[in-house]
């Protein structure tokens, strides 16, 4: 505890409050942290968004982008920043965001490495936890080398979502293994009526007919230059009963380049595959998917797939992958021998042919996702980490 306050403070820092499933899950985690009641929870957002009011109704929320530019403190901050006193300007910014009075007994949780800037506003004594989400490159996101160095130097404990993130931090960035913990994600199901159903219009826009069974493949961290899901598309096409199956590849912006399109054309998949760049949140694309298939290994908690399961879409994946936990003994979809493309193709085709079975398996996947990735549990795990790092901080 600091300054004789009754409760320690936990400041949650996130990028924005846009209405993504990831942010809805954060909202639920914050709600649970508040309910735990052991800390005074505040939220600092770099930018606002549609979920700000809901967040503010749960706990004190500051949106950095909305702070007055003309308050005396803001003018002073800009002035000393222009004079080159960056550290001092950072401290002033910290006070304006409510981060300045944090002490050893308090803690800060960065929900993503992309809010690294907040570290410049914090007193040295306060412990910092930082979630490293699934991404194209863990810690190789669009961060400058200075920001990466700041993270590595300043964060007390990294909470990485993927085992690749652990490898990256320990092997590539030299972070001591005891500073890195692999954490289970928090995932929430889409709320009915939360937003207009986009499925039918999106299907039309993507050129999928009414009879088509849409199989979604979501580019996660592993999808680099060449989506390895295209060999799966080839395997599906080779399957004799696959006429109705079409593939929707949703990939990060930079991977949907000319080579991916070349491969689709060259492999004769143009009539079977639609490739879209991920803009906005995945659920818009999830709306058109009847099945999702994870055709490679990559990140072990691929968020889009967890969200698909939470939304009640059955999964096809490899044995041994974390996603297989949601499928179980083929109750939530199909678990195939490890990275066996013909077996995956057979699983996809089987699900495509059985709409009732699809719905049943989807319901199982949703129930398992809700149980395994419940935000209340995630909040409990996070709070446990907070307690540990507070104990670890030197007095």
């Amino acid at each position: 505890m600091s300054g004789g306050r009754a409760s320690p403070r936990l400041v949650v820092v996130a990028r924005d409050a846009s209405p993504t499933q990831e942010n809805r899950a954060l909202l639920a985690v914050v709600r649970s942290l508040v309910a735990i009641g052991d800390a005074e929870v505040t939220v600092v957002l770099q930018k606002g968004g549609a979920l700000v009011d809901e967040m503010a109704s749960i706990t004190a929320t500051v949106v950095a982008a909305d702070l007055s530019r003309w308050a005396p403190a803001a003018v002073f901050e800009r002035l000393i920043g222009r004079m080159g006193f960056r550290a001092l300007a950072g401290r002033v910014r910290g006070h304006r965001l409510g981060l300045g009075r944090l002490g050893r007994g308090d803690a800060v949780y960065l929900h993503t490495v992309m809010v690294v800037q907040a570290l410049r506003y914090l007193p040295r004594a306060v412990p910092v936890l930082c979630r490293v989400p699934e991404s194209v490159y863990p810690l190789r996101q669009p961060l400058s080398s200075t920001d990466v160095r700041l993270l590595v130097d300043r964060v007390t404990r990294f909470l990485t979502v993927t085992s690749a993130g652990v490898d990256d931090l320990v092997a590539v960035h030299g972070v001591a293994p005891e500073r890195v913990v692999r954490m289970r994600e928090a995932v929430v199901a889409p709320v009915a009526g939360d937003r207009p159903a986009e499925g039918p219009a999106l299907r039309t826009r993507l050129g999928f007919g009414d009879e088509a069974v849409v199989v979604g493949i979501f580019g996660d961290a592993a999808v680099e230059i060449h989506p390895p899901c295209l060999p799966l598309a080839v395997a599906i096409r080779r399957h004799p009963d696959s006429d109705a199956v079409v593939l929707l590849l949703v990939v990060p912006e930079h991977t949907a380049g000319p080579w991916a399109r070349h491969d689709i054309e060259y492999a004769g998949l143009a009539d079977r595959v639609a490739i879209v760049e991920l803009v906005g949140s995945p659920p818009a694309y999830l709306d058109v998917c009847d099945v999702v298939v994870h055709a490679w290994w990559g990140a072990d908690q691929p968020l889009a797939y967890l969200e698909a399961a939470a939304a009640g879409i059955p999964l096809v994946c490899s044995e041994g992958h974390e996603l297989a936990e949601l499928v179980g003994d083929d109750e939530g979809g199909y678990v195939c021998p490890r990275l066996d493309l013909p077996a995956m193709a057979a699983g996809v085709v089987a699900l495509a042919a059985q709409p009732v079975e699809r719905r049943e398996k989807g319901a199982v996947a949703a129930a398992r996702a809700a149980a395994r990735y419940a935000p209340t549990d995630a909040a409990g795990r996070l709070w446990q980490q907070v307690l540990e790092v507070r104990v670890c901080m030197p007095s």
Partner: protein, 397 residues
């Protein structure tokens, strides 16, 4: 000079007679041309080396660095060069080499662009000059001085690039007219006793990598930006499940240290395949690793090291690839089943398993070796070379 004086003369120029794959191939080319009897072959080497004697037994051979130095002609030539009368010096040298008089249909063939110096000994118009351009990362960007490059571009009548990259470089960077370019298949000869025995190095590397003596090695190479190294993990995974019990297979994977490489390594670890996969970063020289391979599986769109792969195939190493790969035609000569439709990894895994499993490897290896000899051997190359000579000198029309 000896031989039938009525035959057109073909002077084969090479830089030195060192014991390299390229020079061994040249020796076999000379042997084949002499045996063919269509031309009167002479060889000009800039320097000697272990293979010189063998070349001398095949055809009249001159080694430039060993030209006698005390005759009147040699002294005059040196004086000319000392006085910076280079043109006069080259004229003298030309006369000493017998390069001053040429007949119709005669030609000079540079086996490498490093033989450029010989062009200075030739008259301006005759004979016809052909120059092979070996596959290289930067064709025509060998350590050539600007003057040598200009001489090549000015005097060579037909460039013979062995790959599309060489042809493109000539056309786009050096503005060489397409009529002066004739792409030909590379000249490949299997390694034999003439080259240093590398068994000890191979065994040491195998040991260092932890590959058991009885294990079969499958190599997958090529990891540039347009490639898809992450397909390897899918192939390995399917192959490992299809392998017959007790068959030990190790995989060599040459990768680029990019994000794709990071994830491939991660995936290999996560799927338990890393124990039998040896990831070789691209900074390592590829040659020694290629020598370890019993089968090559190319998952790339293009062949990044076709010469290395061809040499492997010449030794009887089957090549498997997608139909899009530029080595697909060669792979199919070994066996049509070695070429899979693009991205059909299951087909490749099935075929690889068949090769490994039922003892077909030795048979397919022989077929591969024969196919390379047919398409890239000295007879094929020599035949193509003479066609270009005839076409260029008008004798064939």
């Amino acid at each position: 000079m000896t031989g039938d004086e009525r035959l057109p003369r073909l002077v084969v120029v090479h830089d030195r007679a060192t014991a390299t794959e390229e020079t061994v191939a040249l020796v076999e080319l000379v042997r084949s041309l002499v045996a063919g009897g269509a031309v009167r072959v002479e060889v000009l080497l800039h320097a000697g080396g272990p293979l010189r004697e063998e070349i001398e037994q095949l055809a009249p051979t001159t080694v430039v660095t060993e030209l006698e130095k005390t005759s009147r002609a040699a002294v005059v030539e040196r004086v000319c060069f000392r006085l910076r009368l280079r043109r006069a010096g080259y004229k003298r040298r030309s006369r000493r080499l017998g390069f001053d008089i040429w007949g119709p249909g005669d030609a000079v063939y540079l086996h490498t662009i490093l033989g450029v110096q010989a062009l200075r000994y030739l008259p301006d118009r005759a004979p016809l000059v052909l120059c092979r351009m070996a596959k290289d990362i930067y064709p025509l960007r060998h350590p050539l001085r600007r003057g040598d490059l200009a001489k090549l571009l000015e005097r060579v009548d037909r460039f013979l690039p062995v790959g599309a990259a060489g042809e493109a470089t000539l056309r786009t960077e050096h503005r060489v007219a397409p009529a002066r370019i004739e792409q030909i298949p590379e000249l490949i000869v299997a390694r034999d006793h003439r080259l240093a025995d590398r068994t000890a190095e191979r065994e040491r590397l195998r040991h260092d990598l932890g590959i058991a003596p009885d294990a079969l090695v499958v190599g997958s190479f090529g990891a540039f930006e347009s490639d898809a190294p992450d397909l390897g993990v899918l192939l390995w995974s399917m192959l490992s499940r299809r392998l017959p019990a007790g068959r030990r297979v190790e995989m060599l994977w040459w990768y680029q240290q990019t994000g794709a490489g990071f994830w491939m390594n991660h995936d290999l670890e996560s799927t338990g395949l890393a124990a039998h996969t040896h990831a070789i970063p691209v900074r390592e020289e590829i040659g020694p690793y290629l020598e370890l391979c019993d089968v090559l599986v190319l998952l790339t769109r293009e062949s990044d090291y076709p010469y290395g792969f061809l040499e492997c195939a010449a030794q009887g190493v089957p090549v498997l690839c997608f139909e899009v790969n530029e080595l697909a035609a060669l792979a199919a000569l070994g066996d049509a089943r070695h070429v899979a439709p693009y991205l059909d990894l299951a087909s490749l895994a099935d075929e690889l398993c068949r090769l490994i499993g039922d003892g077909a490897l030795a048979e397919d290896g022989r077929a591969m070796r024969d196919a390379v000899a047919r398409v890239y051997g000295p007879e094929a190359y020599g035949g193509r070379l003479l066609e270009v000579v005839r076409a260029g000198s008008g004798a064939g029309t």
